[in-house]
Symmetry: C2
Subunit: 255 residues, 2 copies
DNA sequence: CGGCTATTTGAGGTACCTCAACGCCCGTGG
DNA sequence: CCACGGGCGTTGAGGTACCTCAAATAGCCG
């Protein structure tokens, strides 16, 4: 059920644990002592691999576990009565996927894997215990929740008040910027693992219009497409179309 | 600087404190012992009144206080490079306005009073101390943050995937529903203290189109306008146009 | 009453949507 | 290795929900 490494007082990964990337992600936004890091790395979890487009959370669930995204991408979405889908958050490797259920009874949205993913399923009870005994870990959890909230507000602005071209460019810019935390080369450009339909559901557009907007961005040299692959140009190039300011990502918070 | 009432062990308001409505609001989403309630009511604060359209928080601020909205309405907003404004949250009486600065260095959005407001300015340090000694209060703070995040996601869906009419109706429905916590009669209809321009900035529309959509809603009997006043019909009537399901407001959480 | 702001209405424009057809990638199985 | 099928991407044509601009009206506050 739970394979756990021995409790480590230092920050080198516990043998056998895969939570390394999770701790690195938290460290990008919060300070944690080596002891804190050791406690996190020693969390019990169940390892699971999922293919793409698999449901991870369902609206109405009462969850007892917090999945942590070890690799791959996942997204939260909501559905309108007419079947319209809005993707409301994108989660990247290292991200915890459901801290919320620590404190709310009911899940208010759906969640799916975007690519094949590796998950560490951590019992909420274990996380809760850790948060109670270690203030700085509780804090790091909160910071993650708050930063996701801030990103959500920026998406509200993006969908509500930007035209398709800067809207798309802004999203791509944000994604590249966020990926820098786990991939130092991301500022030179990233592979975007989203179909045009998924992009449309993030941006509040139709797939057809995303297609045309991508074409424009490509002609402007801001993205490169080959076959079904989509790759962004460097952040600096994207930003010229994007009205992008990274303040809302709170990368200054760890300093 | 700070007028504080004496610490009370029971839940009846501390003499002289105005934080009663704040505690009632937290109680709607979290369980708190009478001792917890007493501690909250005994929080030190500076009382302040503000007119409408006054700035409460500015993007880039490093805040040391958490304003609590004792009466009146306030909203968070963000600006696009072209001057477009998106209102990303509406806060109602009893709501804390900046728990976020407990854990993040920099404010990522602006905040203004919508109507005349009364504020209790609580030092963040006092809140932090309370959260550290009382787990259930820390929890209540978190629940408030999470519920606001959930509302933000619903707004993403609203702006991204609903047409103007259900979009407007959904927002009005939500507002009436939320106001029930502090005003039991709200389900019969509420006064909406927003100009059409502000409604437009919530909904990602133009004021002109909001005007036309309101007209349609009025002809359908879902809102009443007289002069510049806007009043909603009963929630049940609004809901017929709104695709509204209150799950995301997490009112089940206190139970 | 005067002046400001919010609302209302009209006319014309456009960014994005809908529908539909076609073609290309790519995984699968023969 | 090739043939096949299905999903995703691409393109075109036509439609529409919403926007822009502009002017007139109405409410509100001194």
């Amino acid at each position: 059920m739970t394979e756990r490494g021995p409790t480590l007082p230092c920050a080198s990964p516990a043998p056998g644990t895969k939570l390394d990337i999770f701790v690195r992600k938290l460290l990008a936004y919060s300070r944690l002592s080596t002891a804190d890091q050791g406690e996190l790395l020693a969390l019990p979890y169940q390892y699971r691999e999922l293919g793409p487009n698999m449901t991870i959370l369902r609206e109405g669930d009462h969850s007892q576990i917090c999945p942590i995204l070890l690799s791959g991408f996942a997204f939260r979405y909501k559905l309108a009565a007419d079947g319209g889908r809005q993707i409301v958050a994108l989660r990247i490797p290292g991200d915890p996927l459901d801290f919320q259920s620590l404190y709310l009874h009911t899940v208010d949205h759906h969640m799916q894997s975007l690519t094949p993913v590796e998950l560490a399923l951590v019992p909420l009870a274990a996380l809760e215990r850790l948060a109670e005994t270690r203030r700085s870990i509780a804090r790091a959890i909160l910071v993650d929740i708050l930063v996701e909230g801030s990103i959500g507000r920026e998406w509200q602005l993006n969908v509500g008040r930007r035209h398709a071209l800067p809207r798309l460019a802004h999203f791509l810019c944000e994604l590249a910027y966020r990926l820098q935390v786990i991939d130092p080369g991301a500022d030179e450009g990233i592979d975007v693992p989203l179909t045009q339909e998924q992009l449309a559901d993030i941006l509040g557009l139709t797939p057809v219009h995303v297609n045309r907007t991508l074409k424009t961005l490509e002609e402007a040299g801001a993205v490169i497409r080959s076959g079904r692959r989509l790759r962004t140009g460097a952040i600096g190039v994207l930003a010229r179309f994007a009205d992008f300011t990274p303040l809302y990502l709170h990368r200054d918070n760890a300093a």
